[in-house]
């Protein structure tokens, strides 16, 4: 890894446990400026937990987390100014209109009200949502909500952007926009931390892939590096291999048998 680059995020020996469940077992990760990190792993591997720790939503972890070269501490929220976040399960105040919600989020990041509203409108217009801008989010479709969340994460011009399954619910055209958007942001020096289950997308847009299995980093490198080491052709196949899952066909067959009430093989 190129050490001349500016380090944006560093996790050192981060461990997290919920009661008897060791969710993260020693995570070490350095992230540099301009990288697009695809953070992947099976359900329950600890991806969201990692994001929550970095964003200060979870405490009680061991180890240190540094953002922009400074250790994050309880009570110090300043580092969040330069972070954007698209949460996984679309939490929004949906009684508000997109205009109100986005303006509010902008203000939370210290933007001026008018400025936040104009910028939000301009961004939403780019995504083809100017007509819905003054309607309540509760009336939106899933894809529309997702676009609001994406705009909300970018409004304040963050340097480090976390996206948890950002493409869910988006149509094919929007997916293309967002993919290019991420590439463009990275090219201009933003750092993207991207978590998803859709392997094709991760494969295409990430320049570094981090695979988390059972709270540990099982693989870390560019797609080509992973491909060379595992001799598989697609990220999906690599993912299956590294997570030790080979029996998908058999499982599928068993399930159909169960659904149709036949004897299980």
């Amino acid at each position: 890894m190129n050490t001349n680059m500016e380090r944006v995020l560093r996790l050192q020996d981060v461990k997290m446990r919920f009661l008897d469940n060791q969710v993260l077992k020693r995570i070490n990760l350095d992230v540099y400026r301009g990288q697009i990190i695809g953070y992947i792993g099976p359900n329950g591997a600890g991806k969201s937990t990692t994001l929550k720790i970095i964003l200060g939503l979870l405490e009680g972890y061991e180890g240190t987390v540094e953002v922009f070269g400074k250790k994050i501490e309880i009570g110090n929220v300043d580092y969040k100014r330069k972070i954007g976040y698209v949460p996984e399960n679309a939490e929004v105040y949906d009684m508000l209109t997109a205009s109100e919600y986005l303006t509010f989020v902008g203000e939370m990041y210290g933007m001026d009200r008018k400025q936040a509203e104009n910028k939000a409108l301009a961004l939403m217009t780019e995504l083809g949502m100017e007509s819905a801008f003054y309607e309540r989010i509760s009336s939106y479709s899933k894809g529309m909500r997702q676009r609001v969340l994406i705009v909300a994460s970018l409004l304040h011009d963050p340097d480090l952007i976390f996206l948890d399954e950002p493409l869910s619910g988006l149509d094919a055209n929007s997916v293309m926009i967002i993919k290019d958007l991420l590439a463009e942001l990275a090219a201009r020096g933003k750092t993207i931390f991207y978590s998803s289950h859709i392997m094709d997308v991760v494969e295409k847009i990430s320049n570094r892939i981090v695979l988390l299995v059972d709270g540990e980093i099982a693989a870390d490198g560019s797609f080509d590096e992973l491909k060379n080491s595992s001799e598989k052709g697609s990220l999906e196949a690599i993912f299956n291999q590294l997570t030790g899952f080979e029996s998908h066909q058999e499982t599928a067959e068993n399930m159909v048998n169960l659904v149709m009430g036949e004897e299980q093989k």
């Binding site: 309880i74 929220v77 969040k80 972070i83 508000l96 509010f104 309540r136």
Partner: protein, 543 residues
Amino acid sequence: MKELRILQVLDFFQGFFRFFQVDYQAMRSILEVKLTMDQRRIPTVFQANGTKPKEGNQFLKMLGIYVLYSLLIVPFLFFGDAYMFQMSIIFGIAFFILMTAMISDFSAVLLDVRDKVILHTKPVDARTISAAKMMHVFIYMFLMTGSFIAIPSVVMLAQHGPLILLLFLFEMFMALLFIIALTAMIYMVILHLFNGEKLKDIINYVQIFMAIGIFIGYQIVARMFNVVEMDLVYTFEWWHVFIPPMWFGAPFELLFNHHHSPGISIMALFTVIVPIIAIYLYYRLMPSFEQNLKKLMNVSITRKKKSRWTALAEKVCCRSKEERAYFKFASSLIRRERDFKLRVYPSLGLAIVFPFIFMFNQMEEGGFQGLGETKQYFFIYFSLIIISTVVHMLQYSERYNGAWIFHVTPSENPKRLYSATLKAFLVQLFFPIYLLLSIIFVFIFSYHIILDLIIIGITAILYTLSCYKIITKVDYPFSKKMESASQGGMTILYFLLMFVVGVFTVIHFVVSLVPYGSIIYMLILAFITWVSWAVVFRKKPAN
């Protein structure tokens, strides 16, 4: 967003918030958003008939009730210059009403963690978020107090003059601060001591105990003076210091009756110092409060053993397989949904206390011995009046969207879901409490009253059904959105429903005077209940 007038008022005090290191602009934005959301009640996605959705802040519409309540305290203003007496009573009532509202309606706001992902990922410190929450509650409590003391203030001005009124308004403000800070701090302590899932249960029990505590406190205040003999001269006892409403009577006694005893002076001092200390402590502990609140988010997966009680109840009260499934579903929701519990459990506490309160009022003359021969066990009817609130709450859920499942599944008779839910409420919440009360009552009044207790139990079922018919506007339970501002369910309707309990009580009382009246009444009542339950939840004929 419409500019909110209340926030413009708040702007005058920005210096105050800045002094306490609160980011005023951020707090104002959060408040603006929250208040705007309170004004927009969204009707359920699955609104059955095309009724036009009502908009507007439901809370503000409820303020009228508090004006009505305030008439209660007006008579006390005519006790001449027995300030200690009248003010203690007035503050006692005020404490009771405000604190009840605080526990049942605003706990949800204080303990809200739903928007954590939105707010805590922003560069806003915990203190500001907490201050916003506090002000959100404060604004409503302030309006509530305002409507509660409006009429009494006018009477007071006419009766006692402007000086007393000024002192009264000041003391009322202090009392309000005290109540909010006290409630918040009780939660803080609990949040600090306990973890995760357990915490949620404990908070519910604490709410019950707080509700009971306030009631008892109120009773003590009322009993402190011997009104019957019109002897209103106040004598200080050391333990009065532990009863906050008494404090608030003291400054009046001190300043206007020139009653300078040390006891009175100390209590008068308390009304100023204690609220300030409470608010200061709250301010100091605020950040850790927000941190600890996160515990509420932790989902620990504890698999509880299947309760035998539920399994038995399920077999006894539900006949079809479908209804049993619904019953189990409703029982789980009733026991697990935190928001529901936060709002309902305090009233369950009241159900336990209500009958005793009124009984003790009567007991003054006869004492405990005489009680056994009276018909005072009829006061157990008071435990029924909470049913309307709970039936109202059964319409709501935090996860109201989940109700789509009932729309897509092919149910034989969709009404059975509600029938099963009401049964689940009765079995899981009401009857355990009623049973407890009954045991205590049998102990006090002897086993002769068992028949009457059965009658009242059946009445509770019939009353639940009536409440459902009158209140419920949705096809499926748990299908309306739970709002942050109060939906506490106190409208004229609920007073009327309380009146229905009164009617049942009178009928029961009258038939109990007739030989064999009770037993015949019980049979008739059981029959009516059985038939009407079947009729209300019968299958709609296919069109």
